[in-house]
């Protein structure tokens, strides 16, 4: 290292590159690209920094769960004093605690509704009712025709694809119940969520299920006082609709908007 080229970056400059923080002057950058020795110097700094970080990083800090419980006052007196003392010295943990407190202040105990087959109380997949009297046309797929009629036990849902005044697709629905004890008033206010369906819904694999669970509804609305549902604008795509009734969730799959 004693006979470095005059254009070779200094050790401090190489460290700035190792941390992805520095911008070398053009001639030094070109030199670094061409000089094997300087590349080795840089690699050595990166390596030793990584090794030190991997051994030392937060290695004696309280765990994340302990910090979270500390913020909730859920730790024993001795641990509370110990963590409080640690926080005075450790800016990384102080940052964590500050962030945890912010999250806890803003914590929404009722997360947005999501769907999962495993823990649903009572969830029904609505079936598409094919009108027998409809003329059958060759290559006609009833699942792509509008309007559509769906049924889940006593719940009937009629869906229409229409367009708003500015030409954007919108889904219109009307929900009714064949059960005489279920009045339309009892359906009023039920939340209707429309989700983008990425690939087969409710696939068996964990990954597929996870990806659907993490989705937020694209559109949400509520059933009005006469059972109407309006969702707009609905971009072209494949969707799944959830109608969240008081003790039942009705799932309508295969809503393809072309």
């Amino acid at each position: 290292m004693d006979s470095l080229h005059t254009l070779a970056p200094s050790d401090e400059e190489l460290l700035s590159v190792a941390y992805d923080e520095g911008i070398l002057p053009e001639e030094k950058r070109v030199h670094l690209e061409q000089c094997e020795l300087c590349q080795q110097r840089l690699a050595s700094y990166i390596r030793i920094n990584s090794r030190l970080l991997s051994k030392l990083y937060r290695s004696a800090c309280p765990g994340g769960v302990e910090l979270n419980y500390y913020c909730l006052g859920l730790v024993a007196e001795e641990e509370r004093v110990s963590i409080a003392s640690h926080l005075l010295d450790c800016p990384a943990c102080a940052d964590d605690v500050s962030e945890i407190r912010r999250q806890q202040t803003n914590f929404e105990t009722a997360p947005p509704a999501a769907f999962s087959l495993r823990t649903a109380g009572r969830r029904l997949f609505a079936t598409l009712v094919v009108k027998q009297a409809q003329p059958v046309i060759r290559d006609m797929d009833p699942s792509k025709e509008w309007p559509r009629q769906y049924r889940a036990e006593a719940i009937d849902l009629s869906l229409h694809l229409s367009r708003s005044v500015n030409g954007e697709p919108m889904l219109l629905g009307i929900i009714t119940s064949a059960d005489p004890t279920t009045t339309v008033e009892s359906l009023e206010g039920a939340v209707v969520d429309l989700y983008s369906a990425r690939g087969p819904l409710f696939a068996e694999s964990e990954d597929a299920l996870g990806s659907e669970e993490s989705a937020a509804p694209l559109l949400s609305t509520r059933v009005d006082d006469v059972g109407n549902i309006l969702l707009e604008p609905v971009p072209v795509g494949n969707y799944v609709m959830f109608v969240r009734l008081p003790d039942l969730e009705v799932v309508i799959e295969g809503l393809n908007i072309d």
Binding site: D11, E12, L15, S16, Y19, E21, S44, Y45, R47, I48, N49, S50, R51, L52, L53, S54, K55, L56, Y57, R58, S59, A60, G63, G64, V65, E66, L67, N68, Y69, C71, L72, L74, V75, A76, C90, P91, A92, D96, I100, Q103, Q104, F107, T109, A110, P111, P112, A113, A114, S116, R118, T119, A120, G121, V191, E206, G210, E213, S214, R244, D247
Partner: protein, 231 residues
Amino acid sequence: MGTQMDEALGQANLSTLAERCNSELRRHRRKEPADDRYCLEILRRAIVQRVDQAWSMVQQCFSEVVRIWLHSHPSSDIALMRDTVDNYVASTFSRFWYAMRDQKVEFVTLNAVLSYLHATLNGIIMDTTRAHLRSAEVSLPDPGSPQEPVVEDSQDGGLLLEILQSLLPDEGERRVMYLLYYCGFKPREIASRFPNEFADVKEVYRLNQNIIGRLRRNRDRLRWLLGEEEQ
């Protein structure tokens, strides 16, 4: 009236309680008024009375919400690179159970239960991201391998930091070692956060270079840390 209700709850079978608990959780999610007592009763049986079946019911009732939190967590990408959803959910309930048992927490609202459960998951994800940052850097020698340290290495990270800092005579170098490698701050962040300690980022780089130089001069003792290529 309240006492009668409490008695009725105490005598209700678990399946009924779980059904009502699920129903109340759905109401809670829709932000409608929910009756917390069914969920709290199952929890009481699980944690205070230690009824295994009640604990299973608790997990069934609350696992969906834990999954939702996990998927919506800002660090979920990193977390899910390192473990499965099921394992995070299981770990959350496990840590939650021990914490509730050890601290003898008595929940009075569903919101409190959800807050503690969320705090548990959040802490587990924080631990995972810390571990990810450590392991993403380099793979260290396997135990027992020729590169494995004899004396200097320690499972106690605090002790290891002390040992390494003892090789640094300068207070500023010891401080930079702590902030860079223990806290994980970048040099630029150190300079901006601690302007009373460091004039500028160049000073941090300079001290960092001194640290590495001193460690290299102790390469015989630190071969395990510096690796063969640093010799």
